[in-house]
Symmetry: D2
Subunit: 335 residues, 4 copies
């Protein structure tokens, strides 16, 4: 059964809006960053990673965002274009903003952290007047990412984009992607996350992210209650991630869905969620079952956590299928 | 026909949230403020005025707001209490914020202006954690005023209050009350006004205010189109004010309604909208027709514009009825 | 003996730089401000008061400052001009700043307080490029007031004005006038007060103000140590005020000077320091002894504390002399 | 003749205050940064580089500064310590500030630029209360760098440190090191540069930096006028750098001094000024003539511009002497 009725006659399959930044990944890993001497540069940012992932999987994609007017910004745009992503609506800042940075520290496959540079970043300066309605009009699916709600004017640009998406019939996917820095307070976060989620068709987040959104609500909270709340607005699918215990997807028909995961020789955990999202959305858009889509997302995630980068490691559909076959054959086992 | 189905069994009729400030009205009028030497102090702020108006008309009222921890703040709370308004949820700032001020200049009955002090005002510092759900739970009607959306954290406090009101079945009235100062940009204003209006049952504003909210929409705009848009969300009544040409009210049944206004010996124009709103809402809550409610609002407004203050001049129901009788008898004619 | 060698051939006697604001004095006094219903408007701000005082005493004066582009700003400029003060270098803000306000509360003659509005005030926006070197060039004496050092760009404008004054031979008087609001920290205050004081010829302040400036210094602090420190820079006279115990003036020759004060029927304490400063500087500039100048300042202060306003109550030289005579005759006794 | 009379009996030769940051130098050079994929991490910041240089030259050194509470901050402190620099007064931020970054782009030996990250950096958050008077008390020479004056509270910390240095007899060297970013305006820069320079014994800067400081002064400006101005305050030596045309040093005795430079196989221009300053100050502190000191500085600079890094390439005294010999022997010629 196909859960997401996609609009017909659209030029693009998938458009993401939000963060575009740079990952600086430690080359010398399995040690504290103090001892890392060199870093390799990649395009990063959750919606960017997902969009690159969708493009690698063969979808027609575009991006709505803002980059700094510097070497980092130009690198990002050129990388997106080389990956076949429509950058018509990637605008360049003219106010001296910088590109967000994420230095990754990999002490061990399970002990990873990020040092962020998020002050005065270009991606949060996207303005309502810079969002092109015609770009939103031509996509089947719009993906928004929570971090873009963290500050004005980016926050307002996202709300306007949601209105454009509704007007033109695009399905809206909300990847909660909550990052505490850049938000002023927990309460502020909850308010805007809720206002956005009320307008979305698919909501993907961790249990902790949904808890954050429900901080003003009293009484027992559980996954089914959470899902029901959003079905009373607009949602058709709600996915709640429980880390190592796996994810559970709820659908409006009252069903819940799970899928098993795949083994991997883990280098780091970064990028798991983004590649999972790309694989899952790809499945849904192909009309697969929720289970099959989740499985495909899990395999894509296993590939990315086995690699040094996030964006650059996003697999093609063939690579995902091949990985699944090799896992099923026992050729790949967990590290 | 009664348009607004009010919830039963509520302790309060009417609660307003938002601005509480001080008006400093020129005593020596009909001259530029440069030549005014003394000022008289009144409680001000659009939702405060409306709430005082409702209380004078005999309704059980309460207020949700924040005042400075100074003499002005204490004066405001004491004035509200003397007017029978429940101030359980009027909290006091502890960060050194000040009370907003409005110095009025009355050069002539038709040439009035306001000099505002709105930097770091206490009313915009109301936080989500300070809004008492139990106060919202016990009112039939909640009134929000646009200015409270202008800044964080007041903006988030209003959105949370809207959620509480929905949850407890209160009818929500949105007095647009757009004031350009304190807003960062026109686009920002439109985004949050729209997000709030989508959740409201009655929306009252000027044509210019609705135009501001529709700035991202293309095509011909007129009153009926505006009203229809809001009926597609939640609204039951939309009132669009056209200044001297009068107001027009649209209802979900497709009808439009107008009412004639009353003559007045005008001293100044301040407070006309607030007293109109109080009178109109009072009528609706009494189950009167839209026309009769509008007429009552007009009479209340005529009384206030004939006085030196806004809040302090708010009439009782008897005063309004008496004014209408005297107008009908020809005892009162326009200045 | 004349302590202050004034430059010859200057067109103006006295120029002050800094705060220009509005006092709103309670008309109904001897009660908390909550119960005051009306206020009277006066020009205020310590350097403004001193400058008005100097003008009333017959000196040729000018002012360097910035006012809001509103009715309050225009009132201030017009009042200065009516008092014979050269306003060539009073510039008007074009950024939407407001005029600082001081609401006075007079609970009793000895229990007075002020409610300040100092957010985004025009006076602190004076820029280096707006200070006219030719105005500084033509004065014998420049007075700076500490509050103007509280924020950029006013702080830099004052330092530039000090350079201009040095270059053109004007004597510089520093009225410490420390007001905690508007300063970010105590440490910041001390740093800039000291940098300014190093360049001044006469320094006037309370013991508490000098203590604040000496917070980074260790060891025993007393008045003589304080004075010595400033004599090692540029100072010729240092006056340290001890409230009711009177003031003590130190001179570079090692002498200290005191003078008795005058009785007054005190209404409020505001304005005492400003009128004292005006009277004292007037005496010095006339070549009087330090003692005689202090005495004249005390008499001027006694007149102002017996009146409702500060600026408007500044006496003429004849009024001061007359007051001294009446005190000496026993016609005036303390309240 | 020895120009700088150093105090006796001090434990440290040299203490610098100010910027501590990270350089991320492109590994793939002679191309735009867009095409650089990996970067190597070094300690950076002009006063840090000079201090490391002084330490390599054999001086006993210390640093006064602030680092972020993260991996970058810990790397900086550990690097300073490994270079024998006393870090007693390097404090760690606790407010979530970051470490300043400088990505270097080397398009060609003569076409180099820097991409800076300077928002909310720890080094500008050094507070007056964090400067240890005892550290200043035990050094012969204090070096301040202009960038530390760019923002509060670092600006005030520098002014307090200048007072401590004066009190304890340390000679003060001001490396102007003007960087436009982080300053609010050109006028603000000039005011604080001048206030600091008035208190310094040696001032080193480019002609453009001195021009910036003299923007409020009228009339013909030339090097000798500039030097004379500072001799009228406190300065004993003023060095004005003219890029490729070399530097000129003025001394209080009215003499001017120049020295020839050394050939180098230039990789990039970064670090030339810092290594020059270290070499020159080293010479002065050894009692060499100004000419000989300048020559030694030039040789040190030639070594650094031939290397990939700034800090890490700072030479020992022996390396500098060796380089001079090899140049004189014709073994090294310009690239």
């Amino acid at each position: 059964m196909s859960y997401l009725q996609l609009p017909e006659g659209k030029e693009l399959d998938f458009v993401a809006i939000g963060r575009l930044c740079i990952d600086l990944n430690a080359n010398e890993i399995n040690r504290p960053m103090e001892e890392t001497m060199t870093f390799t540069k990649y395009v990063g940012g959750s919606p960017a990673n997902i969009c690159i992932g969708m493009s690698r999987l063969g979808m027609k994609t575009g991006f709505i965002g803002k980059v700094a007017n510097d070497q980092m910004g130009r690198f990002i745009v050129s990388y997106l274009e080389r990956n076949g992503i429509d950058t018509t609506n990637v605008v360049t800042d003219r106010t001296g903003a910088v590109t967000g940075l994420a230095f990754t520290e990999i002490k061990s496959p399970t002990d990873c952290s990020i040092l962020m540079y998020r002050e005065r970043v270009a991606d949060l300066l996207l303005e309502t007047g810079e969002v092109l309605e015609e770009v939103v009009a031509k996509t089947k699916v719009l993906l928004i990412s929570g971090t873009a709600l963290a500050k004005s004017p980016s926050r307002e640009a996202v709300f306007l984009t949601l209105d454009y998406a509704k007007k033109h019939g695009a399905k809206i996917i909300f990847d909660l992607d909550y990052r505490p820095y850049t938000w002023t307070s927990n309460e502020e976060t909850a308010i805007y996350y809720n206002l956005a989620a009320e307008k979305c068709d698919v909501i993907i987040g961790t249990r902790e992210e949904f808890d954050m959104m429900e901080q003003f609500e009293k009484g027992q909270r559980d996954d089914r209650t959470t899902a029901s709340k959003w079905f009373s607005y607009q949602a058709e699918i709600v996915i709640i991630k429980h880390g190592k215990e796996g994810s559970i997807a709820y659908t409006q028909d009252g069903e819940s869905h799970t899928a098993s995961s795949f083994p991997a020789k883990v280098i780091k955990t970064f990028g798991a969620g983004d590649s999972y999202a790309a694989g899952f959305i790809y499945g849904l858009m192909n009309g697969w079952t929720v289970e099959k889509s989740m499985e495909f997302g899990s395999a894509a995630a296993a590939i990315v956590v086995s690699s040094h980068s996030c964006s650059d490691a996003m697999p093609t559909a063939e690579q995902v299928r091949d990985y699944m076959v090799r896992c099923n054959n026992g050729e790949i086992v967990a590290s």
